[in-house]
């Protein structure tokens, strides 16, 4: 039986998508209106009733055009058990919906992968040596996500990348490289789905071992902070919920992953122009953000000076593959220790930027910023309370230090010793946060601003 291509259905569906896409959590273009949606490729994975079509569309938003992938499901005989927000509309007499929540349909993806099948332009394959159990039902994870991840049973997690970029996805590439050198701090990659975009084979999905025993780092850290805030008179080290031991083991895990990435993919010394360019990018961002956010203005001269200082670093700086978007929400505490997730890199950066070699201190800076966020998140929206603020600060200090100590134990050098670069990266991240909070969560603006003040005064 040759599967029908369902061209008419897809064409009709496309007319509904400009209104529907912005209602989806994972849609990255919520900042401006969708002007047009064009189907670029589609593949029928299940034909008949129910129907499952894999669809890639190009989304026009003013001057920007970006590809996204969808799983379109449709049933005649039975109403699917998915939320109403998944419903796209009635096309050619069929109710169509986003199918990632329909466990009957998503089971097919795992099946195809286990068999190593090619359907049209889509190639489903397992990683070398991986044997998959099939017949598992999946449900999407409920956490806030820019992609859509499906958990099969308690065994696997399949991440379907939503916004696509041509080529081998960096997340998959680094996971493979780390697995090859036997890294224990990532979830094993087990399979992938590859499509074609702009004529290039393109990763659209990645299957990994799911860790049912895991809790994410953000939840772990904020559990500790919660404990602290309830006993404002106690020092963090005296608290039952002290996190320093975990923070230190996390630091060691991050340092191990960095070493493994170097081992797998090599390093390059940073040249003077690398540093110059980094400074230029940081200063440009500073100017852009300061223009939008008046509260940042007072810090601009000092920040600029801190960034400029990077140009005069004379000690060698090593460039390597890094995580690129490391924070507490990207790490998992499992029974066998800390794992790092999601090596795609900073979501706001272009693909080219993401795959550049960088200093490992970028990741360290990202995690240090995250400790600040975790410490202060309970203060957001509360009236100023100097005692609680002090508590939050000392929690963050204790755990940032513990993280760096754990990192240093593995790396042999303490990231805090490279103060000029680390400070610049931390502040650059904070400036980015200022712009993000300004646009999205004005209540939280105080968090990066307070950090900037702290880092600037600590440094002087």
């Amino acid at each position: 039986m040759t599967a029908q291509t369902h061209d008419d259905l897809i064409a009709e569906l496309a007319t509904e998508l400009p209104a529907w896409l912005p209602t989806q959590r994972w849609f990255a273009g919520k900042d401006r209106a969708v002007t047009a949606v064009r189907p670029v490729s589609w593949t029928t994975l299940l034909d008949g009733d129910p129907l499952l079509i894999h669809l890639v569309v190009e989304v026009d938003q003013e001057d920007r055009t970006e590809p996204y992938q969808l799983l379109v499901g449709s049933r005649q005989a039975q109403v699917p058990d998915v939320s109403s927000s998944a419903s796209i509309g009635l096309e050619s007499g069929l109710t169509c919906y986003e199918a990632s929540g329909d466990a009957d349909l998503t089971a097919v993806l795992l099946e195809l992968m286990a068999r190593g099948t090619t359907v049209g332009e889509l190639t489903f394959e397992t990683e070398e040596g991986a044997e998959l159990e099939t017949g598992l039902r999946a449900h999407p994870i409920t956490s806030e996500q820019s992609n859509t991840s499906l958990v099969y049973g308690r065994q696997y997690i399949l991440k379907m990348f939503r916004k696509l970029s041509p080529g081998l996805n960096k997340d998959l590439r680094l996971h493979r490289a780390l697995r090859e050198v036997g890294c224990h701090h990532v979830a094993d990659p087990l399979g992938s789905i590859t499509g074609v975009l702009d004529g290039e084979p393109t990763t659209i999905g990645m299957l990994q071992r799911f860790m049912p025993d895991a809790a994410d780092g953000w939840v772990m850290a904020t559990t500790s902070v919660r404990d602290l805030m309830a006993d404002p008179s106690m020092a963090p080290e005296e608290l039952g919920g002290d996190f320093a031991g975990e923070a230190s083991r996390l630091g060691a895990a991050v340092a191990t992953v960095h070493a493994d990435l170097r081992r797998a993919l090599g390093t390059e010394p940073a040249g003077a122009d690398d540093l110059d360019e980094a400074v230029t990018v940081m200063v440009e961002r500073l100017d852009r953000v300061a223009a939008d956010v008046p509260a940042l203005a007072v810090h601009v001269p000092a920040l600029r000076e801190t960034f400029e200082a990077v140009r005069s670093i004379t000690s060698p700086v090593e460039m390597q593959y890094v995580h690129g978007d490391l924070h507490l929400g990207q790490v998992l505490r499992t029974l066998s220790g800390w794992l790092l997730l999601d090596f795609e890199g900073e979501p706001a950066a272009s693909v080219a930027e993401r795959s550049r070699l960088r200093s490992a201190l970028r990741d360290v800076a990202g995690m240090l910023r995250s400790f600040d966020y975790a410490a202060q998140q309970l203060l957001v929206g509360r009236a100023d309370d100097p005692v609680l603020t002090d508590q939050a600060m000392s929690w963050a200090r204790r755990n940032r230090d513990a993280f760096c100590e754990g990192y240093a134990e593995v790396a042999g050098t303490d990231p805090r010793d490279e103060a000029v670069l680390l400070r610049a990266f931390e502040l650059d991240k904070a400036v980015y946060e200022v712009s993000y909070e300004h646009a999205n969560r004005p209540d939280w603006l105080s968090v990066p601003l307070a950090s900037i003040t702290r880092i600037m005064t600590e440094g002087s």
Binding site: R137, H139, T142, P212, A215
Partner: protein
């Protein structure tokens, strides 16, 4: 006999207070053999009703004879006093008593320094009193086990006296003697605070003797077949009287061997198999419980060969679990518990762990010194409050600041984690400790029965009671005692009793497979206990524990049990059916739930009785 021996002191000379009772060394045969009491000299207790594998589902209760009840008004608890309280223990739901040593002893090591394996410490009564206790306990379907130290004796034991005085006599080779102190240099000194070497010079014999513990506790020489047999005969003596088993103290150290650390040696295991054979052949249904304070992976060796369901000890204590439970609640994180259980190997089918929250010993981290386990040590030792509790003896209630919610949470975990729970006397009413009494005695104060004089423990003049009962306003016997708590339906005692009863209705708690459910909330420890009943039906229990003092939500992945209905076990409250999506529960601070999961729909629930 040489002149030397005729002038030597009587072999039982070092035994105090045994003149009127049968005891070892009261006579001596022409060939130098000591006269020892025989089990035929005493009555024998009827056995408790036979129940295969009873220890796998038993609730154990550690009780110090000295501390429980004084029958003769001399101020010290005794065997007859304990026998008089069996109704209470039966009411509570206790299945087996564990008595620390009650043998004749100079009491330089809490009775673990045994000077006669065949006599009872006179303050506690006689061998006949023990048989009476056994008889009364068995009538109530309560079993009794006691500590037996195989590794060494007190230096007051007539065997040792004979050994040091008559090197050529029948006991000359009962201990490990040497002309110098250079042998076995790789064996560590365990009590580093009091002992500088494992060898001590004996001026009487003019040789050094080997001791892994105190220098007043010489190690028996297990190389000597006669010693191996003598110790098995010691076991037979008590087994003949009707005892239900032994906790074998300090088992890892029986043999020594040059070039090794003298722990867990193959020959030690070989001997334990020999002991087990005797028990299985001559006394089926009686048990051996190993005290080996080591990492679970090493302790598992003491269960023996898994292919035959275990051929050494029936039970062993799981030591690292206890400090991890404290750590987990302190950190509000399930990881300390989940990790240690994940690292705990499968045990043979015929064996069971013993688990406990508190016992007469201190909170110890002895077993976590290894490099890759320094996690626990680092966490514990860095935390001033936890550190303050290492190496000292505290009771459960003061350790938990008398917080009823935490007491319940800890007890609920004790009763639902894998293993047979061991309660420590008095913890069921939330007794306190008395740190002014010194470390050893702080947790050995008299059981608090009533608000009457001496807490109802003894009619002696208060000045004669072996230790003063606790009298402070929070934990004193005026406030905390069995009588008051029995009358109060909401008391900790009645709560504990109900929980024990619930546990007994579900074999899953005792024998079920343990499945950690993990989950995204690190403060909630949830697990399934899954047991296939002989009739093929599943007994499934779901336990959810909030380790945090704050209320917590949890989403449980129960996909495999879609369509099952959770029935809350303490109140028989039916919860919503499990669907395909994660199952959402909310728990109050330090709250917990026990559910039975059953497929039964409207026909009503059925408790799985064994």
């Amino acid at each position: 006999m040489t002149d030397d021996q005729t002038t030597a002191p009587a072999p039982d000379g070092a035994l105090a207070g045994l003149d009127d009772t049968p005891h070892t060394g009261e006579g001596i045969e022409a060939d130098g053999t000591l006269v020892e009491p025989h089990s035929e000299d005493f009555g024998h207790a009827e056995q408790a009703p036979a129940q295969p594998d009873w220890f796998k589902r038993a609730v154990f209760y550690e009780v110090l004879v000295r501390a429980f009840a004084d029958s003769n008004g001399d101020g010290t608890g005794d065997l007859r006093g304990l026998a008089g309280k069996l109704d209470y223990l039966q009411w509570l739901g206790v299945d087996c008593l564990w008595l620390p040593p009650f043998y004749a002893s100079p009491l330089r090591d809490g009775g673990y320094d045994i000077s006669d394996f065949r006599a009872v410490l006179p303050e506690f009564g006689t061998v006949d009193d023990f048989v009476y206790l056994l008889e009364e306990a068995h009538k109530r379907n309560i079993r009794v086990i006691t500590d037996l130290v195989l590794n060494h004796t007190s230096d007051a034991h007539p065997w040792f006296q004979q050994s040091r005085n008559d090197p050529e006599g029948p006991y000359g080779d009962y201990y490990v003697w040497s002309d110098d102190h250079s042998a076995y240099a790789d064996a560590r000194v365990i009590f580093v605070d009091t002992e500088s070497s494992n060898w001590t010079y004996d001026p009487v014999r003019g040789q050094f003797f080997w001791h892994r513990f105190f220098s007043h506790q010489p190690d028996l020489n297990f190389e000597n077949e006669a010693v191996q047999e003598a110790m098995i005969d010691t076991l037979r003596f008590w087994l003949d009287l009707g005892i239900d088993g032994f906790r074998l103290d300090a088992v890892p150290y029986l043999f020594e061997e040059e070039g090794t650390n003298g722990e867990n040696l193959p020959r030690t295991h070989e001997y334990l198999r020999k002991v087990r054979e005797v028990v299985d052949r001559e006394y089926p249904g009686r048990i051996l419980l190993a005290e080996a304070n080591q990492w679970p992976a090493d302790v598992v060796e003491y269960f023996g060969n898994a292919d035959v369901g275990g051929d050494e000890c029936h039970m062993a204590f799981h030591f690292p679990l206890m400090p991890r439970i404290f750590m987990a609640v302190r950190r509000e994180s399930r990881f300390p518990i989940s990790e240690i259980l994940q690292q705990t190997p499968q045990i043979p089918s015929g064996t069971q762990w013993g688990i406990f929250l508190r016992n007469h010993d201190e909170l110890t981290l002895e077993m976590v010194t290894d490099d890759e386990r320094d996690y626990m040590y680092a966490e514990y030792a860095k935390d001033p409050r936890m550190k303050a509790n290492i190496g000292i003896r505290r009771r459960l209630a003061p350790l938990l600041e008398n917080d009823r919610n935490q007491l319940e949470l800890f007890t609920a975990m004790l009763l639902s984690l894998p293993g047979s729970p061991v309660l420590y006397y008095g913890d069921e009413i939330g007794m306190g400790d008395n740190i002014w009494l010194g470390d050893r005695d702080a947790v050995r104060t008299p059981m608090q029965w009533s608000p009457d004089r001496n807490a109802g423990f003894s009619r002696a003049d208060p000045g004669r009671v072996y230790l003063p009962p606790i009298m402070d306003p929070t934990y004193g016997y005026a406030a905390i005692n069995v009588e008051a708590q029995q009358d109060n339906a909401a008391s900790l005692l009645n709560w504990t009793r109900r929980m024990i009863a619930v546990r007994k209705q579900h074999s899953a708690f005792a024998e079920g497979e343990f499945v950690d459910l993990g989950g995204s909330n690190p403060s909630v420890l949830s697990y399934l206990r899954r047991w296939e009943r002989p009739d093929g039906e599943l007994d499934l229990v779901l336990c959810v524990n909030n380790l945090s003092r704050f209320p917590q939500p949890v989403e449980l992945e129960l996909g495999t049990y879609e369509g099952f209905i959770p029935l809350e076990l303490t109140g028989d409250v039916r919860f919503p059916r499990i669907g395909e999506l994660p199952y959402l529960l909310t728990l109050p601070g330090h709250g917990f739930y026990w559910f039975q999961l059953s497929r039964l729909g409207d026909e009503g629930e059925r408790r799985s009785k064994v």
